[in-house]
């Protein structure tokens, strides 16, 4: 009995220390985001003050007004949204079918294909920008959103298929046989049984493709060269950021506008994401 008490006494301060440090680390990790939002709401004079305070007494929307007043910021926002959403939907669909194909069917070159998915992830996107640039030019796709959507689908697929494979694998094959015995057709099994079962995995992979498309800076910078009406958010953000004299209020407000959708998306799928990643690595 007494041993138990001692044990507990020793444990308690440790856990307390662990919890305090967890909270502290959480604060440190969240600080940049907090500072971003705070600076976005600050009146101009306060940002440029040499005594930054971690709060503000009179929040103002000036910076946001400046951001949305900038030519067609809303349009850039929409462009980004269109690109990200089309990439997510199309790549999720293809990844689902492809992952099913490589786990459920044995065919020639299957292993080769799998290795290729892995190798494809290694390819430095930045290097491929050069040939892709010429490819898009030849297709007449430069300065269109298609020039952003297509490469993003291509680059998010290998990772998505690679991750989804684990989920499809986890569905017992007996289930498939049972479905066929009950008279379900192949497509019916695919969409009404398999699809809902691997949905958490699809969500997890979609997060990755959404983020990579939404955050993309490189393709937007390289492929949208002259027609600024097709520009996306990261490019708009840099309008405010001039290395010599950055408009920090504007940058922070634009950053906030750009980060919020991703945050919302993340919070919505948070639970599925954690279980999704757990499922993917368990196999």
């Amino acid at each position: 009995m007494s041993g138990n008490v001692v044990h507990r006494l020793v444990r308690r301060p440790w856990r307390l220390a662990a919890e305090v440090s967890a909270l502290l680390i959480a604060a440190v990790v969240a600080f940049p985001l907090y500072w971003m939002v705070l600076s976005a709401f600050r009146p101009a004079g306060e940002i440029e003050s040499t005594e930054p305070r971690p709060w503000t007494l009179d929040p103002s929307l000036d910076s946001f007004r400046r951001v949305f007043g900038q030519q067609e910021f809303g349009r850039y926002f929409l462009n980004s949204l269109v690109v990200a959403c089309s990439v997510v939907v199309v790549s999720a669909l293809i990844a689902f079918l492809a992952a099913t194909a490589v786990t459920r069917f044995r065919f020639r070159f299957r292993t080769t294909l799998l290795i290729m998915f892995l190798v494809a992830q290694m390819v430095p996107v930045e290097a491929l920008t050069i040939p892709l640039f010429f490819l898009m030019r030849d297709f007449g796709q430069l300065n269109t959103l298609g020039a952003l959507i297509l490469p993003h689908i291509a680059f998010s697929l290998p990772f998505a298929i690679w991750m989804l494979r684990g989920f499809v694998k986890a569905v017992p094959e007996a289930l498939e046989e049972a479905a066929y015995i009950d008279g379900a057709s192949r497509s019916r099994f695919l969409w009404q049984i398999l699809f809902p079962l691997v949905f958490p995995g699809l969500v997890a992979t979609s997060v990755f493709s959404f983020i990579s498309a939404w955050n993309d800076f490189l393709f937007a910078k390289s492929f949208i060269i002259s027609d600024t009406s097709q520009s996306t958010l990261p490019m708009a953000l840099l309008v405010f950021y001039k290395p010599d004299d950055p408009d920090w209020g504007g940058v922070m407000a634009a950053s906030t506008v750009m980060t919020v959708p991703v945050l919302v998306f993340f919070v919505l799928v948070q639970r599925r994401l954690v279980s999704g990643l757990g499922g993917a690595v368990k196999d």
Binding site: R15, A22, L23, I25, A26, V29, A30, P32, L33, W35, M36, I47, S49, T50, E51, P52, T111, L114, I115, V119, A120, M122, V123, P124, V125, E126, A127, T129, I130, P131, L132, F134, L135, P151, I153, A154, L157, I211, N215, F217, S222, P234, L237, L238, Y241, W248, V251, M252, S255, M258, T259, V262, L263, F266, V267, Q270, L273, V274, G278, K282
Partner: protein, 276 residues
Amino acid sequence: MVLGGLLVYPVYQLGLISVFHYTQAQVSGGEPTTFEGFGNYREIFSDRQFWQVLLATVLFAAACVVSTLTVGCALAVLLTRVRALPRLALMLAALGAWATPAVTGSTVWLFLFDPDFGPVNRVLGLGDHSWTYGRLSAFLLVLLEVVWCSFPFVMVTVYAGIRAVPAEVLEAAALDGASQLRIWRSVLAPMLRPILVVVTIQSVIWDFKVFTQIYVMTNGGGIAGQNLTLNVYAYQQAFASSQYSRGSAIGVVMLLILLAVTLAYLRLLRRQGEEL
């Protein structure tokens, strides 16, 4: 297959461009393209700056991977030690950092470390010390941002993996008097090895290819290119100096390096007896 084409064809073209002489004149059709063989490669291999950049890239990526993995794993273990509320706080903060786009993350960190208006210099009492001026401190700043936005992936994945380890195993180890560090080293790490391998490889791939952070935070490679990494270098060669073929050659070198890493990874997987 069509999308496979969208990946394979550019790789092929990349190789093709890298063996030609391809600059602005050829792009606009002013001059015919000439075959150069390995001339571009010879050129970059005899270029002092290339080796410098390569070394910087490898060291920078290694530092990023090690710090990310250390922080991620340590916090994953910490997550299992605390009750629900601190865990939720840390999880949400990490998800926030993870969700932050690379461009905004870069600008926010730049602002935090701004010599004139940033809070960090005030708190540390550094006056108007400029972080992006020195080579090492600029790299350090980028490293901090990279670790900040990439440790959550490691943390969440490893945490999910630890949760999958049966509690009895850990209890048994604790009853046998193993210390925390010992439990991690002798029980958790071996059980989590497949996960750790995946996470490490992903980190290597990502950190080797850091582009946006370097590009934005050091304004395209730092003063006189002191903060260039391979892919920013390739990009600058191609799009800023219109040396498309030299940029492609650098890209091919990068591809080969990462390919070697992948093959090592596959060998490792196979030795563990895992089927693809």
